[in-house]
């Protein structure tokens, strides 16, 4: 297998304001994120040779992106891979550029959730019986109760994830929420899916994010502070882990499998020491705790301690979700993975202001789709 390391550069990033964008259409958000990324890279829409777009179910096909930006008559591919749709779109674009087929490509991820009044993520496919009535929080609450039972993880540890990510998000103008919360607020919130309460859940959000990528050898013609792709991992495990005999349900192997691929490509032996910051998929507070373990930042079962001891705070050993994460930035499904690329790139470029992680050189982004079934991990680093 070929090596992806250092063959692709991120030269432009953009992100629409995340939130309940009642005053914005899909087109408005794609235009905001897309043109910000194009301008950041210093290119025009006509310079883009191919594009990838990630959305769960807000639109169909490459036309959703092409019609908004009027980049037409070129290859545009729509990617859907549950909540990892955005990062998988980025991954596919990177491999296409690395292959030499294209010099410059655009990646956009977006989702429009608030134009309908659905509670949670709208169901696209319902089997009449199997997992009928199961909601997104259920899938992670099942892991939470198992983790509580097995390792003694507590609601208070979960709450600390929410408090940290709201604290970080308060420094992010593009986040859905700029609002500090305290642990008591989290613990006293109404239950959504036990043990997860309202503040253990990320919001449903409208948003879009974009990135312009190119071959590394031409990156300097766009900007000096380009960022390099060091590793790209993707693992797809069973989409019905709740029916899988023996599945422990105390974490998501898809994350670990994807991380191992990316670490190997990037040459990372000790993630805790070698990674300076991580944007991980905290769709629910328990998920961030599982991510610490599944991304091998700490041992299995020690995720609760990891947050409690402050390792994942800005200024800690390995700051996690300095952007505020899904919890505070919001989670426009297909948009999230690309928003993480935007955040990590700008952290490595030292462009994020108050939430800047000091001396950041290597960053990780982790997108998780479905019932923990689609794990996608990207490692970015400065040249």
């Amino acid at each position: 297998m070929g090596d992806i390391r250092d063959r692709v550069a991120v030269v432009g990033t953009g992100c629409a304001k995340f939130g309940e964008n009642y005053d914005m259409s899909i087109e408005d958000m794609i235009v905001a994120a897309g043109f910000e990324a194009l301008e950041d890279a210093g290119v025009a829409p006509g310079d883009i040779q191919a594009a990838w777009v990630g959305t769960l179910n807000s639109a169909f096909s490459g036309t959703s992106l092409g019609d908004a930006l009027k980049i037409q008559n070129i290859p545009i591919t729509r990617v859907e891979n549950y909540c990892a749709s955005g990062m998988d779109a980025f991954r596919n674009a990177c491999f296409a550029v690395a292959s030499g087929a294209y010099d410059v490509a655009l990646v956009v991820g977006f989702e429009k959730l608030r134009d309908s009044g659905a509670r949670g993520i709208p169901n696209t496919r319902n089997h009449p019986m199997l997992a009928w009535g199961v909601t997104a929080p259920n899938l992670f609450a099942l892991a939470a109760n198992r983790h509580f039972h097995k390792y003694g993880t507590t609601k208070s540890q979960l709450a600390k994830v929410a408090v940290k990510n709201h604290h970080n998000g308060a420094m992010n103008k593009k986040a859905h929420f700029q609002m500090e919360i305290d642990e008591e607020t989290v613990l006293n919130a109404p239950l959504i899916s036990s043990p997860l309460g309202l503040f253990d859940c990320c919001p449903t959000t409208d948003g879009a994010a974009a990135a312009v990528i190119c071959r590394t050898d031409i990156a300097k013609s766009f900007r000096d502070d380009y960022v390099l792709v060091k590793g790209l991992g993707l693992a797809v495990t069973s989409g019905a882990p709740y029916f899988k005999p023996g599945f422990e349900y105390d974490g998501f192997p898809a994350t670990t499998l994807a991380a191992r691929q990316a670490y190997e490509q990037a040459g990372i032996k000790n993630p805790l020491e070698e990674i300076d910051l991580a944007e991980t998929h905290d769709c629910f507070t328990i998920t961030e705790i599982l991510n610490y373990e599944d991304l091998l930042f700490c041992e299995k079962g020690k995720g609760g301690r990891f947050i409690e001891e402050g390792h994942s705070a800005i200024g800690g050993k390995l700051p996690v979700n300095p952007s505020g994460g899904l919890k505070s930035s919001g989670h426009p499904i297909g948009g999230t993975g690309v928003r993480m690329i935007y955040e990590v790139t700008r952290q490595l470029q030292h462009r994020v202001g108050d939430r800047q992680v000091k001396d950041a050189q290597v960053g990780l982004a982790h997108n998780l789709g479905g019932p923990g079934a689609v794990g996608c991990v990207t490692i970015l680093g400065n040249p």
Partner: protein
């Protein structure tokens, strides 16, 4: 050649957990009184699911392969079938995994449906069409709010297995009276059971026809009223059967069986079967039991209890369920369950095509076992989840017992009875399933909880009844 004795081989019962205190109903309507409580089917139950659980209890301990080979008669008696056109007994026979050649009969439209089913089953056995016959009865009759029916109607089910070997109660004789009478009825357009007001039905329908059928039965059998150990008499209320007994010169206190009006309610066509099951729980060899149903006439059946009753104790009969109650805290929940208010629309979708293709795994709970690595898996699939071997499976019926691996109580999914508990269950003997839980308080659920699987109505997406298994804390 003397006729072989034919009769009841086994019995079972089912009463829903939810019990609505009648005081809550009367208080709701700013009236006084209201004694006892009535059983209310959960939002996920109907006449089919109740009859099915009664049938499982009735058949518990019998060799299922033998039953599949022998049973050629299955009946579901109800005035409240899940479908007005589509067999409920067919669903029952399928879910019980009976032979495809089993004849099914929906006995319907009258409170006499259960005894009509029993007599049809007996006839089938006597005719040599089958060696065993299963007869179930269940009802959840719709009662108009603020009426006496609302106070009296309850939900429940019972089942009897009929046969000619190892009878616990032999049918000694029976009579049937047909009597055209407009006392109680419900047309298709009527949302509730209707009744002609006043004492007309009690005097000229109920009393007259029951005296006729019971007297004729006793007369033909050469019995005196006082010879009867127990009279199981359909009881629309507490007083009516007493008048019948007195006029028959029987002792109401000693001879009339408990119709369970006080703690279960009037369970419609299931009432006499449920009451008979209660009597059989405590019957002694030699007891003479008269079962008299009522509805457009009357069937009266005389059973003589045999020695075999002693070997038949301990199964789940009415007393098991009477002891397992879940008080319903409000009229509001009752009115939601009974569709008395505009409720949350079912968010489900479904497909009769999918249900047909996968019937085996839904109604019958079949998974499969890999022929190579022996992993038991559900749902059924083509390639083994564990070793990847293709198309090398044997059918494996999942056990109805298991242990909770993990769970969550969900308040997001719209439900008439929140929270919706989702549980991952490790099935006894192999298999892993995700099921909703039912009949449980949220704080009861924990990792390691023992559960038993029950068939329930999951939702009514696509305008059909989507039946699937749920888990309930094991009794």
């Amino acid at each position: 050649m003397p006729k072989r004795p034919v009769g009841i081989v086994s019995f079972g019962a089912y009463i829903p957990r939810y019990r609505l205190p009648r005081e809550i109903i009367s208080r709701h309507w700013r009236q006084s009184g209201g004694k006892g409580e009535k059983a209310v089917a959960g939002f996920d139950e109907d006449s089919f699911t109740m009859a099915f659980e009664a049938a499982l209890n009735c058949l518990d301990g019998f060799d299922t392969d033998a039953l599949r080979a022998e049973m050629r008669f299955a009946c579901l008696a109800t005035t409240t079938p899940p479908y007005h056109e589509k067999a409920a007994a067919g669903l029952l026979a399928t879910a019980l995994d009976l032979s495809r050649e089993c004849r099914t009969l929906d006995s319907a439209n009258t409170l006499r449906a259960a005894t009509a089913g029993i007599l049809a089953g007996i006839d089938a056995i006597n005719a040599g069409a089958t060696s065993r016959a299963l007869v179930t009865a269940a009802d959840q009759r719709p009662a108009e709010p603020q009426t006496a029916f609302e106070m009296s109607f309850g939900d429940g089910a019972a089942a009897v297995l009929l046969g000619s070997e190892e009878c616990i109660a032999v049918l000694e004789g029976h009579v049937s009276i047909n009597d055209e009478f407009l006392g109680t009825w419900r047309r298709d357009v009527d949302p509730y059971v209707q009744q002609f007001p006043g004492g007309f039905e009690t005097k000229f329908g109920y009393q007259r026809v029951l005296m006729e059928s019971i007297s004729l039965l006793l007369d033909r059998q050469g019995l005196k009223p006082m010879d009867v150990s127990r009279l199981v008499l359909y009881s629309p209320n507490a007083r009516a059967p007493q008048n019948v007994a007195k006029r028959l010169e029987m002792d109401p206190k000693k001879q009339i069986a408990d119709a369970m009006l006080g703690n279960v309610g009037d369970t419609g066509c299931a009432q006499v079967l449920l009451s008979l099951a209660r009597v059989l729980e405590e019957a002694s060899p030699g007891d003479l039991i008269v079962v008299a149903s009522y509805g457009d006439g009357s069937d009266a059946l005389l059973f003589r209890v045999t020695e075999a009753i002693e070997q038949h104790r301990g199964r789940r009969g009415p007393s098991h369920y009477l002891a397992r109650r879940r008080p319903m805290e409000s009229y509001g929940r009752y009115s939601l369950f009974r569709d008395l208010v505009k409720s949350i629309p079912s968010p489900g979708s479904s497909s009769p095509v999918v249900l047909w293709r996968e019937t085996k795994q839904y109604l019958q709970f079949y998974g499969e076992k890999c022929g190579k690595c022996e992993t038991i898996q559900f749902p059924r699939q083509r390639v083994c989840v564990d070793c990847g071997t293709k198309d090398n499976f044997v059918d494996h019926k999942l056990s109805r017992h298991g242990i909770v691996h993990t769970f969550t109580n969900d308040y997001l999914h719209p439900s008439l009875d929140p929270p919706t508990t989702e549980a991952i269950v490790n099935v006894e003997g192999g298999g892993r399933v995700l099921l909703q839980m039912t009949d449980a308080e949220p704080d009861q659920i924990r990792v390691g909880l023992e559960v038993e699987m029950v068939l329930r109505k999951l939702h009514e997406g696509a305008g059909i009844k989507n039946y699937f298994w749920k888990a309930r804390p094991r009794d």
